[in-house]
């Protein structure tokens, strides 16, 4: 056994090659060893993990285990975990012990998964490099002088370094797909509303969606199967049946119509990325897909639209952090306004404050129509472009990122430079579409990701296309040399 996919670990547990307690101890040991170099986790939950693992072993012995039972995993620290510190990467919540579990935390715990810790992330999921975290940056396991991407940088780095076979994540403008691409792992952002956001700390409510980062598309299908579905506690949760994603992996690829996103192959795309992405496209063609170029003329407007809509919604969502009911409070407030202002100024980092300020401005009296309403109209144009494209093709393909992982500190001085890292991922959020990034090669030793975008609720089709590709290639099985030791072999 070489690579610890979820599917392989699940099979190993079933055949008693190892116990969940053994796997969990191995995961905890790897986490501990990696932490000084990667800083991928904010909190390690060794004690509760070992109790959950022991319970999982009992389920396995009793024959009541499911495919996820006993497998160690990591939750992004944006998901509330009862009785466990839930920081969202912020000083504001650095003392917040959640009183309840997020819906997906409950679902994965019920499935028997073992949470070994909480993943580091950009503060309030605002960032593309994991450098805005109050708990320090995360390093890319392929080159620890480089960023892992963000905002789910801890999740992506943890899976890349094989600390656990999967980590949950969230995606508002690319926060699952961009770090997955930069760390050489598989990430899926489902359709808006497909996975409950109950207990996922809100950033931009019309864009946020929960998903997962895994080694393979098959693992993503197995996990999404347990995460997806209606939850009345999330008012935007979609009440539609969840297909059998694992069964849908076997969908034949013959006749699949793939559209190449013309706008994603222009100026700004590094040749080092374009080569592997075009090779991936050729692989899908060999597997029976037909390919044509598709133009979405409004798609390049996604970034400016996003930087109105997302800050506007963030400024509203983050108004709840007032130093009164939970979170950071300043010392010796003079009066109530001073309490609000200093608690928030001390509790939030620079990027979060920048977005709150931007959002406050675009929503303020006299500017609402010119900015927020205008951006919502442009969002309609972007969404219409996708709708038209999906009358002609089944999936859209392009690069996930314009470049490979950049150096820590390289893009922190100018917010616009940082924002442009999400130029290819934001569109799917604008239209609420499911999208994936999967590893498709390397450039100068750094991973490259290819992105697939599907119509609403076409997660099964995305996963099947990704799975077919991953049966032909082994990019997703490559682990960073410094961290790629046999995870299961240590158990």
């Amino acid at each position: 056994m070489t690579v610890p996919t979820l599917a392989a670990l699940s099979a190993g547990l079933k055949t008693r090659q190892y116990s969940s307690v053994e796997l969990t101890l191995a995961a905890l040991a790897r986490v501990e060893r990696s932490q000084p170099q990667l800083n991928a986790l904010v909190t390690v939950t060794a004690e509760s993990a070992l109790a959950a693992a022991a319970a999982a072993d009992q389920r396995i012995a009793a024959g009541t285990a499911g495919p996820l039972t006993g497998v160690p995993m990591i939750h992004k620290d944006i998901f509330c975990t009862a009785g466990v510190l839930t920081t969202c990467g912020s000083r504001m919540l650095s003392n917040f012990v959640s009183p309840y579990d997020a819906h997906i935390v409950t679902l994965l715990a019920d499935a028997g998964m073992v949470m070994v810790g909480k993943a580091n992330m950009d503060e309030f999921a605002m960032g593309s490099s994991n450098e805005t975290s109050y708990f320090g940056p995360v390093s890319n396991p392929w080159d620890t002088t480089r960023v892992p991407g963000g905002s789910s940088g801890g999740s992506a780095a943890a899976v890349a370094a094989r600390l656990a076979p999967l980590a949950t994540a969230s995606d508002t403008g690319g926060s699952i797909r961009q770090p997955a691409a930069l760390c050489g792992v598989t990430g899926i952002k489902p359709t808006y509303g497909r996975v409950s956001r109950y207990g996922m700390i809100a950033f931009a409510s019309s864009l946020d969606q929960a998903g997962v980062i895994t080694v393979s598309a098959e693992d993503a299908a197995m996990t999404l199967q347990a995460m997806a579905g209606f939850d009345r506690r999330d008012s935007t949760s979609i009440d539609a049946p969840v297909p059998d994603y694992v069964a849908e992996l076997q969908q034949p690829l013959a006749g699949l119509r793939i559209g190449i996103l013309k706008e994603f192959f222009g100026e700004g795309l590094s040749a080092a990325i374009e080569g592997p992405v075009r090779e991936a496209l050729a692989t899908w063609q060999r597997l029976g897909a037909t390919v044509r170029e598709v133009s979405l003329p409004s798609l390049p407007l996604s970034v400016p639209t996003y930087y109105v809509v997302a800050p506007a919604e963030a400024s509203s969502n983050l108004a709840r952090f007032d130093g009164v009911r939970f979170g950071h409070r300043c010392d010796k407030p003079r009066d109530l306004v001073d309490l609000y202002k200093r608690s928030r100024a001390e509790g939030f980092g620079a990027e979060v404050k920048r977005r709150i300020m931007t959002g406050t401005y675009v929503l303020s009296a006299g500017y609402y129509d010119a900015y927020y309403l205008k951006a919502q109209r442009v969002r309609s144009l972007i969404s219409d472009d996708f709708r038209r494209a999906f009358t002609e093709v089944d999936l859209l393909l392009g690069p996930t990122t314009p470049t490979t992982a950049f150096g820590l500190g390289d893009k922190t001085s100018d917010p616009i430079t940082m924002y442009l890292n999400d130029i290819y991922t934001i569109g799917a959020n604008m239209a609420g579409l499911p999208a994936m990034s999967l590893p498709c090669g390397f450039a100068d030793g750094l991973p490259v990701g290819v992105q697939l975008i599907g119509p609403h609720f076409a997660e099964g089709r995305l996963l099947a296309a990704a799975h077919a590709y991953q049966r032909e290639t082994d990019w997703h099985l490559r682990a960073p040399p410094a961290f790629g030791a046999d995870f299961a072999g240590e158990a």
């Binding site: 309490l339 920048r354 401005y361 616009i416």
Partner: protein, 96 residues
């Protein structure tokens, strides 16, 4: 699009964020450049285009019955509060 220091102070007040005087020029620069990026939208013709508030067509905000759905968790919830007294959240005196 360039914002003035006075505008930055006004925005910070609306957002209830204390700003150091030294921070103001940084916000003038960064917010102005963000608004510069966003200004691309002005050139787009959106006549007759409806604003999109929800990414899925035809979805409406679901309502629930106004009924008790959770036990009283006051103690648990207030465990995270910076200051409570007799089950109440404590803030500086508001009414003189």
């Amino acid at each position: 699009m360039s914002l003035s220091s006075k505008q930055i102070e006004g925005i910070a007040h609306l957002a209830r964020l204390e700003l150091d005087a030294a921070e103001i020029p940084r916000y003038v620069d960064s917010l102005s450049s963000i608004l510069g990026l966003v200004s691309e939208l002005e050139r787009v013709n959106t006549d007759g285009i409806a604003p999109m508030a929800h990414p899925l067509e035809g979805q409406v905000q679901r309502l629930r019955a106004d009924a008790v759905s959770s036990p009283n968790l006051r103690q648990l919830l207030q465990a995270n509060a910076p200051q409570v007294d007799a089950g109440l959240y404590v803030v500086p005196k508001v009414i003189e």
